[in-house]
């Protein structure tokens, strides 16, 4: 090491470093000269400009929130609009004594403790020069009362704002959804810049799914104000751009007919146009008034909605999980034909029950004396359970599950509304994974008639029926039909999504199953013949009754003695016209008893409404 050690040449080194020091000193002087030139520009050349800006005045930058897009039904009826209201707002940095101001305001405007607590919370999240809302929706009297006392509250003022209003109130509470105050979690997700000045954000339904389009883009203006905070002039502005208007596929007349015909039952009705997936009616009962949520729902109202045993906030159309019951049978029948397990002519003898080979347990048909010899058409039309026990047993759960999968059972439909549930189409793997149990053959039988583990949402039922009606053409359900850019007059149709085209080996299989569904409504012994007698168009349908309450082996189901919440769910699926389908409907009436008596008439009403028929109320035969 020592040999490689070069002696330091102090003289050379100090000359080198001093040279660099001199360079650095010169560079510093140059850089500082640039700063001074900048100051000269600002303070001499642009002095007039800045002086006029500051001249005992101040410049404020105000966000200009965009107008939220409007929502219409397919006939152009307004479903969501913006109405002007007055709100009490504060710019914190202009307030001298915050505690005094809040106390005095509490007294003057009769603010509740909740108002104050929420306001203090918002105060923390805003910058000091931004407007913070104290209370929304002031009455005329409150506006007048504050105006008279305005001088006592520097920094507090009344602002006119547009807020969301749903003129149809309860009718579209689940489908259109509602907006509400932006919460902490949403604050993290949104582009905060773009929501400056925006108080509400879509919380559910179309309002949430299409938030980005409905919201629009924020603008701002730079204004000059005097010491009192009054605007003297506008210096610069960038206008906001309103959000897009949306035109829905939903039809208010159908929606109303569906909601009314459910009377006081809980349940759901979904109607679709099978040709493009357009959702024509999307009803979930009970419903609620979405206007309650817009400017912050009171905790009393909210707990009433949340704690109600009827669960009005729960969107049954998209999230309600019901056993499909016999409405699953046409799909099982199609599976039988397609997989070559049965033909249209194959017959099964129904003595009123079915037993697995080598087992004693009797799986009962709903008709205790049995249907005798039945082929597929009879079995669907009369909803013979025994035929489908036998068919399901022959198919086996694996093939059955695989086939139902094609129709979207157990999968989300992809509708343009958030929080859809996937339902459940049971399989061997699912049972192993979720319960760590083997699949029992008896469970295949129960699955074959849509009971047991099967769970479908009303939307899924409508969607699968639509695919069946279209002979395999699967469309993604769409609530929004078209949108319109702000300031434009033309509506832009949205693309419809064709998801899939189900291949069948023989297209005759579709016709066979659809024929059997026509027999349900128009046949001599069809379970829904009472709705089809005077019908000028051919309807294909299927009734369903889903068990809520397990009945022991030898007991009879007796509606009279059971509490209503233990009554069976009533289901019905239908489409019309059977040969060239234009309209699909799925009805679920919770605890409605029988699909034939409760659900089918609702579907009939919607078909009458949709096709503009003039028919009398049907008389269900007893």
């Amino acid at each position: 090491m020592a040999s490689r050690f070069t002696l330091k040449d102090h003289f050379r080194e100090s000359r080198l470093v001093n040279g660099r020091l001199l360079f650095a000193a010169l560079l510093s002087v140059i850089v500082f000269s640039v700063v001074i030139v900048r100051l000269v520009v600002l303070q001499v050349f642009e002095y007039e400009h800045f002086d006029s800006l500051s001249d005992r005045n101040r410049v404020d930058i105000e966000p200009l929130p965009p107008q939220r897009g409007l929502i219409y039904d397919r006939n152009g009826v307004m479903l969501a609009e913006n109405i002007p209201t007055f709100s009490l707002e504060m710019v914190p940095e202009k307030v001298k004594d915050m505690d005094y101001t809040i106390d005095a305001l509490t007294e003057l405007m009769a603010l509740t403790d909740e108002d104050v607590a929420e306001f203090r919370d918002r105060l923390k999240r805003h910058r000091r020069f931004q407007q913070v809302v104290i209370r929304q929706r002031l009455t005329e009297a409150e506006v007048a009362r504050f105006s008279a006392n305005r001088h006592r509250f520097p920094g507090v003022d009344i602002e006119g704002r547009l807020i969301r209003h749903y003129p149809q109130a309860n009718l579209f509470s689940h489908a259109v959804g509602y907006v509400g105050r932006i919460n902490e979690r949403e604050m993290q997700i949104i582009d905060q810049q773009n929501y400056k000045g925006t108080l509400q954000i879509g919380k559910t339904g179309v309002e949430k799914y299409y938030e980005d389009q409905l919201h629009g883009t924020v603008g701002y203006r730079q204004v000059e104000t005097n010491v009192q905070g009054r605007i003297v002039r506008e210096l610069m502005s960038e206008p906001s751009h309103s959000g897009d208007d949306l035109l829905l596929n939903l039809d208010i007349n159908l929606q109303r007919a569906a909601a009314e015909s459910l009377t006081d039952f809980n349940g759901s009705v979904v109607a679709m146009d099978p040709r493009n997936g357009g959702v024509l009616a999307l009803v979930s009962k009970p419903d609620f008034d979405p206007n309650l949520f817009v400017s912050g729902i009171s905790s009393k109202d909210y707990s009433a909605l949340r704690d109600s045993p009827e669960r009005p906030l729960y969107d049954r159309a998209l999230r309600g999980s019901y056993p499909p019951g016999s409405t699953l049978k046409p799909f099982v029948a199609l599976a039988g034909l397609e997989l070559g397990v049965v033909t249209e002519q194959s017959r099964v003898y129904d003595p009123g029950w079915y037993s697995l080979p080598g087992h004693q347990h009797r799986y009962r048909c709903w008709k205790s004396h049995g249907h005798g010899w039945v082929n597929m058409k009879d079995a669907v039309a009369q909803s013979c359970d025994t035929y489908f026990y036998d068919l399901a047993h022959t198919l086996g759960i694996d093939r059955l599950h695989q086939f139902l999968d094609l129709f979207g059972f157990g999968h989300r439909t992809g509708i343009d509304i958030p929080s859809e549930s996937a339902g459940l189409s049971p399989s061997r793997e699912w049972k192993r994974a979720s319960r760590n149990q083997a699949w029992f053959p008896g469970e295949t039988l129960i699955s074959g008639i849509g009971q047991g583990f099967n769970q479908t949402t009303p939307l899924q039922l409508a969607h699968a029926t639509s695919t069946l009606a279209m002979r395999g053409v699967m469309q993604e359900p769409r609530v929004v039909r078209a949108s319109r850019k702000a300031g434009m007059s033309e509506m832009q149709l949205r693309n419809t999504e064709r998801v899939n085209s189900l291949p069948m080996q023989d297209s005759q299989h579709w016709e066979a199953v659809i024929d059997s569904m026509v027999e349900v409504v128009h046949g001599q012994r069809g379970t829904a013949r009472h709705i089809g007698e005077d019908m000028p168009i051919n309807i294909a349908g299927k009734t369903g009754t889903a068990q809520v309450f397990g009945i022991a082996q030898d007991e009879e189901y007796d509606a009279e003695t059971l509490e209503r919440k233990l009554h069976d769910h009533a289901l019905f699926i239908a489409f019309a016209p059977a040969d060239k389908p234009e309209f699909v409907v799925a009805v679920v009436v919770e605890n409605g008893g029988s699909g034939s008596k409760m659900a089918a008439p609702i579907a009939r009403k919607l078909i009458i409404e949709h096709f503009g028929l003039e028919l009398d109320e049907p008389q269900p035969d007893q």
């Binding site: 070069t6 002696l7 330091k8 040449d9 102090h10 080194e13 100090s14 080198l16 470093v17 001093n18 040279g19 660099r20 020091l21 650095a24 000193a25 510093s28 002087v29 850089v31 500082f32 640039v34 700063v35 001074i36 900048r38 100051l39 000269v40 600002l42 303070q43 001499v44 642009e46 002095y47 400009h49 800045f50 002086d51 800006l53 500051s54 001249d55 005992r56 101040r58 410049v59 930058i61 966000p63 940095e93 020069f129 810049q193 400056k196 924020v218 701002y220 730079q222 010491v227």
Partner: protein
């Protein structure tokens, strides 16, 4: 060279002010400049802080502590500093790592370490430890440094800078990195290397840009030009430009700045205090202040050129120039020349920790100047 200087002390024991100053290892010129600057700072703080005497008292206490630290540092012989460079750096590095795990959050960044009796930013140690260590390391061998020494030097700078940028405190990370890079520059690395380095940085930028997501690009753009974001970062800049511009040639007068007094200019007693100065004293006041900064740094550079070892020369040069970088980054931000990074105006902005470190740096300068041996050994 001059024996009489050494003998003087023994011959004339009577008290003289210049003796006292010398005995305390104070450099009178530097001290004068600093006191002037600190005085201007207090005056501006009084105006910017809304004439709050409490604020002034708190700042005076900090100043007292900081000047005490400066005098203390001035007593330490530069050789001792060189010897303890590795220890100081190692300690700083450990504390930086500790901050990552146990640090306290303030204003969204983890910078503070709570030591029970006081809270403290380890990055402050690094502001001095990095230039001391890099100077000591490079001065061990003849200058200009070998490639190998250069690489190690860059690593010694990069490690703490990275840890601090992660806190995240980009402003301090930039300042610490530049204090180390300045040492390397002063050590005489070849111009070729410097240009190659700058060139590759310039070449890397578009490549990086190409691989960035849209939202990242937008962020970079608003960082570079905050005025495109008038509701966010641009708000400060728009307001501060109005304050500066409306100052004109001679300003509105002390305590009369309208922008600052209508509570309109944000952070006016800390990062944006220069805007208050420019509003109240105009172009004349602002230029005078900048000249005062240049004079102080100039004295520092002179001290560097007179230093007797390469270590002292490099260290004194780095401290003086870094001081100017501070001023430039802050004033550049306030006048809208540079992006917004939170760097206070040195020795004028309200706030304690950076004041102590800055004056400790000047203590090093004084020590270097007053510990010179009058004769070559």
């Amino acid at each position: 060279m001059n024996h009489s200087l050494i003998n003087d002390r023994q011959q004339r024991p009577s008290w003289q002010p210049s003796r006292f100053v010398e005995w305390l290892h104070i450099d009178a010129m530097l001290m004068l400049g600093l006191l002037l600057l600190l005085g201007v700072g207090l005056m501006m703080l009084f105006s910017a802080g809304g004439q709050d005497m409490g604020l002034i008292y708190r700042q005076l206490v900090r100043l007292g502590v900081a000047i005490g630290v400066m005098l203390l540092v001035a007593q330490i012989h530069p050789d001792r500093m060189r010897d303890s460079a590795y220890w100081l750096y190692g300690l700083g590095l450990m504390l930086l790592v500790a901050v990552l795990f146990f640090g306290h959050e303030g204003k969204g960044a983890q910078r503070w370490l709570d030591l029970g009796f006081f809270r403290f930013q380890p990055s402050e140690i690094m502001k001095l430890a990095v230039p001391i260590l890099v100077a000591a390391f490079l001065a061990e061998r003849p200058l200009p440094p070998s490639v190998w020494r250069l690489i190690v030097g860059l690593l010694l700078i990069g490690l703490p800078a990275f840890l601090i940028a992660k806190q995240p405190d980009l402003g301090t990370a930039i300042l610490i990195a530049s204090s180390g890079l300045i040492v390397i520059f002063l050590a005489g690395i070849r111009w070729k290397v410097i240009f190659a380095f700058l060139g590759s940085c310039a070449a890397a930028a578009p490549v990086l840009w190409y691989f960035m997501h849209d939202y990242q690009r937008r962020r970079v753009l608003t960082f570079l030009n905050p005025e495109t974001d008038p509701l966010g970062a641009g708000y400060h800049i728009i307001q501060s430009k109005i304050a500066i511009g409306s100052g004109g040639l001679f300003g509105q007068g002390w305590l009369r700045g309208t922008q600052s007094h209508l509570e309109f200019l944000p952070e006016r007693s800390t990062d944006f205090i220069f805007a208050v100065i420019a509003e109240e004293f105009g172009l004349a006041g602002a230029v005078l202040l900048l000249c005062l900064y240049l004079l102080i740094a100039g004295r520092g550079l002179f001290i560097a050129s007179q230093a007797q070892s390469s270590f002292s020369r490099l260290l004194a040069g780095s401290i003086s120039i870094t001081f100017l970088v501070y001023v430039f980054v802050n004033v550049g931000m306030v006048t809208g020349l540079l992006p917004v990074v939170g760097v206070p105006l040195p020795l004028v902005s309200y706030g304690g920790t950076s004041m102590v470190t800055l004056l400790a740096g000047f203590g090093i300068l004084m020590s270097i100047h007053t510990h010179r041996r009058m004769m070559s050994p």
